[in-house]
Structure formats: structure tokens, C-alpha cells
């Protein structure tokens, strides 16, 4: 089977979790004898074409930019991606499946699938409605519309949690039978590598509370800072490490100053893989107090690195974590509950170690990429069958 994947992110171009997801999915698909071609934007310093154990990476268009006319860049990228898809298709004798990840590649996916008469599968990682807790402006409405039309045109939709499935079906009116839940996974091997010389050092007995993610409202990092004075009251030497960047940084700084805890908070900026591993490794507890989370891969990362984890009781996070078994859950937005949970894990080593043990099993049994690749191939096959039925 030959699969064409369109993805806005692919290593080393990583913004959210999408790039990691597509990277892992494609290499595990390739292990199962699927030829995977990925079309993704150019990245400075990376080759336009790369063959990597059955995964063929094609980089086209101009590198993604944060500034400027993002919509315009996106649609231009779609046109470049189409051109590349047409070229590859001719050289390998056609694809069997088009797999589009998220709205940014919606038009390339739809158009190539339609004109080449092959089934379209799409993975919807998150929705604009969910990301923004509603639709508030023209741009958000347009993206919602693009997501909806992508979902309606695809033969099969993949999403990562029950929560997302509900959201997709109610937002876009897609039939439940078309939506398949396949959880994301983590590969524990990717978390072993540590930096030779860490950019900054953390002592073994430091009481590190760790957050990683984009600094945007939906991630709840504001609530985390707001809860931290209570934590410090009980555990005076606790430190809060915040990994990632985003538009909220200024607001967060201001909040920390107001609470007079700025000296207990350390911003690491965007963390490269080895430094991310280092922080998980050193952290006594990882906290992800999201208000919206389609899946919550970070919870799995914490489990894969033997870090006890606290999550907001929302979306996919709520499905991954069983409270008191493989992590702790707090009510989304509740500052008091959050503080209590952090204090508990910083001060009760027995509870922490039992969560870690169970988390380890969760990863092994449920969230392995091998199983995910298998389920994805099933979806491809269903899409092919559906298409055949449709044609005949």
C-alpha cells in the first residue's frame, strides 16, 4: 500500500504535537510494509527530499513563518503540495490513500483525493472551536468551516479520543460510523537520550514542578502559576519550570510579579528533545492543567519518563489518566485542587511511586505506536472498501 501524507509539521519543523505524531506514525507504518510519502513545508537546513527506512519526505514551498499573512502562506503551500503530489504520483504509479492531517492541508488533501480518485482519510488533531473555546472572529469561523468540509469530504476520520469524536460529530454533523478513535502514542525509547552538557543544571533533590506546552490560555498555565503560592506555603523550596513559548508570556510574567513568586519560576523557552528529557527526568511532578485538550500526549510523555503526573479533568487527558491510579486529576480551572494535588505528590513519595509504576504499564499496554500503526492500516482498508462500494 502506498500512502500520501500531507502534514504542516514534520521534524525538524515542530510547533505543537502534530510533527511528532506524524513522525512516529509514518515510521511505524513503514515497519509494516507501507510506503509512506510525506509532503510538508520546507525547513531551513533540511533537504528537499529524504528517504528514511521506507518513509519518503518531500519538502516544498517556503518555510512556515509566524508573521505575515499566514492564511495566504497556507493556501500557497497547499498549491505547492498539490504540485508535488501530482509529480510523485506519476513517478510511483499512483497512491492508494491520501491522509491529511488537520485543516492546514485540507485543500491539498481534498483536491488530490478527488482528482486522482483515491480515498481521503483525515486525522483531526484538534478543532478551531475547541482551541479557542468557541469561535470569535472571521478567521476562526473560516478555519472551522475548512475543518468541517474536510471532515465531511473524507471517507474516514481519525481522532484521538472519545472526547474529540463527540466534538467532531456534534460540530460538523459527521456520522459516528465514519469517525475512528485511535489514541496517540509515545515511544519510550525517544525519551532516553539526555544532553551531555545541559544548558542549565537541576540538582537531584530540587523539588521541580514541570509544565511543558504552548503558552496559550487553553493549556491552563495561568492557573498553575496562580496555584503556586499555595504550594510554596507548604513546600517552600518548590520550583516551577515552564517549558515552551507562546503569546501569553507577558500576561504570565505580570501575574508572577503580582503574586511575588517570579523568582520561583523558570522559563526554559522552547525545549529541544534532549533538554525536554532532562526536565522530565529531574521533575518531581509534571502538571498539565488544561482547559481544553483533545488528547494530551504530554500525560503519556510523563508516564514514559516515570514522572508522576497531574492533569486537568478534560478531553483526552481525562481518558488517559485514571485518578489515583496512573496520575491525579483535578477539576479544570480549580486552583485549590491543583495546589493540593501538587503538594500531595511533592510530599508523599509512596503515592508518587505507585502512580509511576501504573503509568509505565499504561504506556506499554495501550499507547504503543505498533498498535496505533495497526489500527491506522485498518482504517485505510475500510476507506478503500468504502470507496470501492461508492464507485460500484
Amino acid at each position: 500500500m502506498k500512502v500520501l501524507i500531507f502534514s504542516w509539521e514534520y521534524p525538524p519543523h515542530m510547533v505543537g504535537g502534530l510533527g511528532q505524531h506524524v513522525f512516529d506514525l509514518s515510521r511505524f507504518l513503514a515497519r509494516k510494509q507501507i510506503a509512506v510519502h510525506i509532503i510538508t513545508p520546507r525547513v531551513k537546513g533540511s533537504p528537499d527530499y529524504q528517504a528514511d527506512n521506507g518513509v519518503y519526505i518531500h519538502r516544498v514551498g517556503s518555510p512556515a513563518k509566524d508573521e505575515g499573512n499566514f492564511k495566504s502562506w497556507t493556501f500557497t503551500f497547499n498549491s505547492e503540495a498539490i504540485r508535488e503530489a501530482v509529480r510523485i504520483s506519476a513517478s510511483i504509479g499512483g497512491f492508494d490513500i491520501v491522509h491529511a492531517h488537520d485543516w492546514l492541508v485540507a485543500y491539498a488533501g481534498r483536491s488530490v483525493a478527488k482528482i486522482f480518485e483515491i480515498p481521503l482519510v483525515t486525522t483531526i488533531h484538534a478543532t478551531e472551536h475547541g482551541r479557542n473555546l468557541g469561535l470569535h472572529n472571521r478567521m476562526q469561523n473560516e478555519i472551522n468551516e475548512i475543518e468541517k468540509n474536510l471532515a465531511l469530504e473524507a471517507q474516514k476520520i481519525i481522532c484521538c479520543s472519545k472526547y474529540m469524536k463527540e466534538e467532531i460529530c456534534s460540530l460538523f454533523g459527521t456520522s459516528k460510523g465514519n469517525v475512528k478513535i485511535i489514541p496517540n502514542g509515545v515511544d519510550p525509547d525517544l525519551f532516553i537520550n539526555l544532553p551531555d552538557k545541559p544548558k542549565f543544571k537541576i540538582a537531584d533533590n530540587d523539588k521541580v514542578v514541570f509544565f511543558i506546552g504552548r503558552l496559550v490560555p487553553e493549556k491552563g498555565v495561568w492557573h498553575l502559576i496562580k496555584a503556586f503560592p499555595q504550594v510554596l506555603y507548604k513546600v517552600p523550596d518548590a520550583k516551577l519550570y515552564i517549558g515552551g513559548k507562546g503569546p501569553m508570556k507577558y500576561t504570565l510574567d505580570k501575574l508572577a510579579l503580582e503574586l511575588d513568586i517570579a523568582d520561583r519560576i523558570f522559563y526554559t523557552g522552547f525545549l529541544k528533545e534532549d533538554m525536554r528529557n532532562y526536565l522530565y527526568h529531574k521533575a518531581k511532578v509534571a502538571v498539565f492543567p488544561s482547559l481544553y485538550e483533545p488528547f494530551g500526549i504530554v500525560a503519556l510523555e510523563a508516564m514514559a519518563t516515570n514522572t508522576p503526573v497531574i492533569v486537568g479533568d478534560v478531553g483526552g487527558l481525562a481518558e488517559i489518566v485514571q485518578d489515583g491510579v496512573n496520575g491525579l486529576k483535578v477539576k479544570a480551572g480549580s486552583i485549590d485542587e491543583l495546589a493540593k494535588a501538587i503538594i500531595k505528590l511533592l510530599s508523599d513519595a509512596d503515592v508518587a511511586s505507585s502512580l509511576v509504576q501504573n503509568g509505565c504499564n499504561t504506556i506499554k499496554n495501550i499507547y504503543s505506536w505498533d498498535a496505533i500503526a495497526e489500527s491506522t492500516i485498518d482504517v485505510y482498508q475500510q476507506a478503500l472498501k468504502k470507496r470501492q462500494k461508492f464507485v460500484s
Partner: protein, 518 residues
């Protein structure tokens, strides 16, 4: 001089509802057929109603399609059925007002079907051709697929004009004299391409001649704060007379701003009157429209439609319009124009489709103008050679007076693709050889390019109206073009490709008279 410009993008076999063929069917049922019928009636009453009408070549091709003709009849039957169902439904619930509106629609669609099948013999083109030959209708042409010309690169631009002429000749057995610039989009040099194709006249918006502040016909969906409104220097010229483009052998007519404004303006134009039928609200049962505008700002408090009341209002508006027309003429005469020319240019679909009572209004205006001692309806040919010369401003009739509506942050990427598609076709052309199959593939590639160039997609994307449909079509035609190109360049013309090409020929099926590909 009354000029009506008719255009619907290519929608044949590109989806039926809610977007696609239904646009064409609605325009045929609500606008084209009723207008032509109203005209025939006036002619039978002995009135002189000379009108200039432009039909986009891509619209003519769809009129001419057997498939469209058949599906249109099915569409009308469907509407009749739905109206009859509605009538029964409302009668059963003793909602007599609603029932009588349903009956009104039933009657309307039945009449259109009778007119189309019997009077027109399904042949709209035959009908207008005959009218033109009788001398009361001047048909002019426009760009092949209604491309926005000022921003198109030269080869494509010339092709749009040339095919505009060719398709016209194919249907009307004579050369076209007038050219409608899509959206009145003009730039300096446009006239040379028109002259090269034998055109004698074209139209621009008033500020292209007079300067000053543009009227701006469209406003829906745009953020008016973003728009740069170009101020054009006042030239001292006036649209009350035709001009020759300076130093060139071609005439130009300027749209009169007074007559445009009264019909188009969202604030005080006629179509927004509370008695007229509301366009946007329709019955969820049948899609039929039962309400009057009532108050434009209040969506949830619409009163029921009263056709008789609306008709009275249309007649009143027609009297008002003709009265103003006479006044405007007198004022112009006071300024020293001995026989001032007033050019009214409108999208045909405004009448009937957007403004349901518009056809009646138009009929009434023409009747009153016939009666008036002060007004003569004229065709371009009646004007003789223009004696004065004018330089024209680069302009359009869109908001801001220039290219903003079609060229802005929302659409800049589309222009890049339009350009790339044009370049792609230049390469594809090199593969055109004796083989009839290659020729077919090249011809099909040209059709895809033509479709990419339609201004409609730009308009829908920038106005955020049926945006997804527009983008989908835009990308699909681009993908088709690239696939043809790839196969031709690789000389990979296997059976799969041939089968696929046959399918595409069936879907994107127009301009089939095979003039040589240039």
C-alpha cells in the same frame, strides 16, 4: 442607454445544491427568462425597448448544453412540486396567506417552464439571437470565463478577449461590436487588445472618466475599514457623452453614477424597500421565500410577503426613477449637453434573482421611458462616432474604485496560482502535436486554465461568500491542469490517463468548437 451584464460561472456538473447548478437554474428561472418574456410582451404592445445585453461566453455555453436544458426543466418541475406541496400543507392548517403565496410560486414556475419549453423551445440563445436580428437588442460579449482582466498577464488576457469574440461569433453569426469589461475592470492598454479584436466600444465606471469618488457597487461581506478608497483627480469630463479613448480608435461609455446608485445602494436603493420580497429568509420545508424585507436590520421580525403590495411599490419606484432620469437629463442640458447620454449598467441577475420585483420594475421603467417626451432609449449604434477624446483612469466598479475587491490579503495567493497556471499552460502547449489525443489533452488543459481564471472565485473568497465552494473549485481545476501537464511532459499517456481525461472532458465541458489553441 440600458446595459445589462449577464454572467454565472461554469457550474455544469460541478455540484447541484446548495452550491453549483442551482445558481444557474435560479438565474434562468428568476431573471433571464422573465426579462426576455417581459421584453417580448412590450414589443408585442408596439413599444420600442432597445437594450444592450452582455452574456459571458461561459454562460452561453451552459445555455447551449442539452444537459443543462434538461436539468433545468427538472429543476422547475421540482419547484412546482414543492410549491404545490406547500400550498396543500398551508391550506390544511388554514394558513391562507401562506397558501396563496405558495400558489403564486406554483404559477410562477409553471409559467417559466411553459415559456422555456414552448416559447423558447429550450433555446435561450436562439431567442436572443432572433431579438438581436430584429434590431432591438444589441448583444455584446465579455471575457471568456469572466476573468478580472486588469491583473491578468498578457497571454491569458488576450486569450480571454479573443475567445470572448470567438464564442460570440459561433452563436450569433457576426462579429461582436461591444465588449463588457468584467467588473468594469480597466487599465491603460486594455483598449489595444480590444481594438486588435475588432471591438468598437466598451464600458467603464463613471470615475474612470470623470474622476472623483468611486461609487462602489458591492459592499456585502467586506470590512470597509480595510479598503483604500482611491481618490481620482477630477477631470472635468462627464459621462453624459461617449468618448474616444485618447489617440485610439475605440469608443468608451461611462456608467452614470446617479442611476447606478439608486438601484444598487444598500442604504437608499430601491431593492432594500420593506415591501419587497426578502431574499435571505426561506422556508426550511421547501426553500421558497414567503416574507418581505420588512426591516433590513431586523432578521427575526419579517412580515409575510404581499405580491400585490410589492408590485405597487415597484411601479412607484419606476415612476420615481424615470422622474429622476428626466431631471438628471434636464440638469445636464443646463450644463450645456444638448442631448445628454445617461448610461445605466447593471448585473442582469439583480433583476428577478436578487431583487424579485426587479423585472416588473424594469418593465415599468421602459414603458414610462417610452411614454416620456424627454427620454429616448438608445443602443450604442445610435450614438454615432464619438467626437471628444478622454484619458481613462485604471479602475473598476468594485468597492474603492480599483482592484481591491479582487486583489487583497484574502486573494493574493490566488493570483500567484493563476499566474503559475498560465505558465504551466505555456509549457503544456509545447506538447501539442499531430496526435489527436495530445491535442485533446492540451485543449482540456486550456479549459482548466480558463476556469481557474474566473473572477468569481476571487470574489467569493474575498467576500467570504460560499468561500469553500470557490476554493474547492479553484484547487480542483489547478490539480486537473497539473495532472494533464505531468502526463504530457512525461509522455505517460496510458489507458488510465485516457480514461481519466474522458471523465474530465465530460465534467469540464465547454468551448468545444475547437478553434486552434493559441
Amino acid at each position: 442607454m440600458l446595459v445589462l451584464h449577464s454572467h454565472i460561472p461554469y457550474v455544469k456538473r460541478q455540484g447541484r445544491w446548495p452550491f453549483g447548478e442551482v445558481w444557474l437554474f435560479e438565474a434562468m428561472a428568476e431573471t433571464y427568462i422573465p426579462i426576455l418574456q417581459s421584453w417580448t410582451r412590450m414589443r408585442e404592445q408596439g413599444l420600442k425597448v432597445p437594450i444592450t445585453m452582455s452574456f459571458s461566453p461561459i454562460l452561453l455555453e451552459q445555455f447551449n448544453s442539452k444537459y443543462i436544458q434538461e436539468e433545468f426543466v427538472n429543476y422547475l418541475k421540482e419547484r412546482e412540486f414543492l410549491a404545490a406541496e406547500d400550498e396543500r400543507y398551508f391550506n390544511a392548517r388554514a394558513e391562507s396567506e401562506m397558501a396563496s403565496i405558495a400558489a403564486f410560486y406554483y404559477q410562477f414556475y409553471r409559467e417559466v417552464r411553459r415559456d422555456f419549453t414552448i416559447e423558447f423551445d429550450r433555446d435561450i440563445i436562439g431567442m436572443i439571437k432572433q431579438m438581436q436580428e430584429q434590431g432591438y437588442l444589441e448583444i455584446i460579449t465579455t471575457a471568456a470565463t469572466h476573468a478580472y482582466l486588469p491583473l491578468l498577464h498578457k497571454t491569458s488576457l488576450e486569450r480571454q478577449v479573443e475567445w470572448g469574440r470567438k464564442i460570440y461569433e459561433k452563436y450569433f453569426d457576426r462579429a461582436p461590436r461591444g465588449f463588457w469589461l468584467p467588473e468594469c475592470g480597466y487599465f491603460n492598454g486594455m483598449e489595444d487588445i480590444l481594438i486588435a479584436n475588432g471591438f468598437e466600444y466598451f464600458y467603464v465606471d463613471s470615475h474612470a472618466i470623470e474622476g472623483g469618488k468611486p461609487i462602489g457597487a458591492y459592499s456585502q461581506g467586506f470590512d470597509s475599514e480595510e479598503i483604500e478608497i482611491e481618490t481620482f483627480a477630477s477631470t472635468g469630463l462627464s459621462t453624459y457623452r461617449p468618448y474616444k479613448v485618447e489617440g485610439k480608435d475605440i469608443s468608451v461609455f461611462g456608467r452614470n453614477s446617479m442611476v447606478s446608485h439608486q438601484v444598487w445602494s444598500a442604504d437608499y436603493g430601491y431593492p432594500g424597500n420593506g415591501d419587497y420580497r426578502e431574499f435571505h429568509k426561506h422556508s426550511p420545508r421547501s426553500g421558497l421565500k414567503y416574507w418581505r424585507i420588512t426591516d433590513r436590520r431586523k432578521d427575526d421580525q419579517k412580515l409575510l410577503y404581499d405580491p400585490k403590495k410589492a408590485l405597487r411599490r415597484a411601479k412607484e419606484h419606476a415612476r420615481h426613477f424615470v422622474y429622476n432620469l428626466e431631471n438628471t437629463g434636464e440638469q445636464a442640458m443646463n450644463l450645456g449637453f444638448s442631448s445628454p447620454l445617461i448610461v445605466g449598467c447593471y448585473d442582469t441577475e439583480l433583476f428577478g434573482h436578487w431583487w424579485w420585483e426587479g423585472v416588473k420594475w424594469l418593465e415599468e421603467v421602459l414603458k414610462l421611458a417610452n411614454d416620456s417626451q424627454k427620454i429616448d432609449l438608445v443602443l450604442p449604434a445610435d450614438m454615432g462616432a464619438a467626437r471628444y477624446e478622454a484619458q481613462l483612469f485604471e479602475s473598476s466598479w468594485g468597492m474603492g474604485g480599483k482592484h481591491y475587491v479582487w486583489q487583497n490579503n484574502e486573494t493574493s495567493w490566488m493570483w500567484d496560482i493563476i499566474k503559475k497556471a498560465g505558465q504551466e499552460f505555456e509549457i503544456i502547449k509545447l506538447y501539442n502535436d499531430e496526435s489527436s489525443f495530445r491535442q485533446e489533452a492540451v485543449e482540456q488543459a486550456l479549459k482548466e486554465l480558463f476556469l481557474i481564471e474566473s473572477s468569481d472565485w476571487l470574489f467569493m473568497v474575498s467576500g467570504n461568500l460560499t468561500r469553500d465552494y470557490a476554493m474547492k473549485r479553484f484547487f480542483e481545476h489547478y490539480t486537473k491542469l497539473l495532472r494533464i501537464s505531468e502526463s504530457l511532459c512525461n509522455n505517460d499517456l496510458n489507458d488510465d490517463f485516457r480514461k481519466w481525461l474522458n471523465k474530465i472532458q465530460y465534467q469540464d465541458d465547454f468551448f468545444n468548437n475547437k478553434p486552434e489553441v493559441k
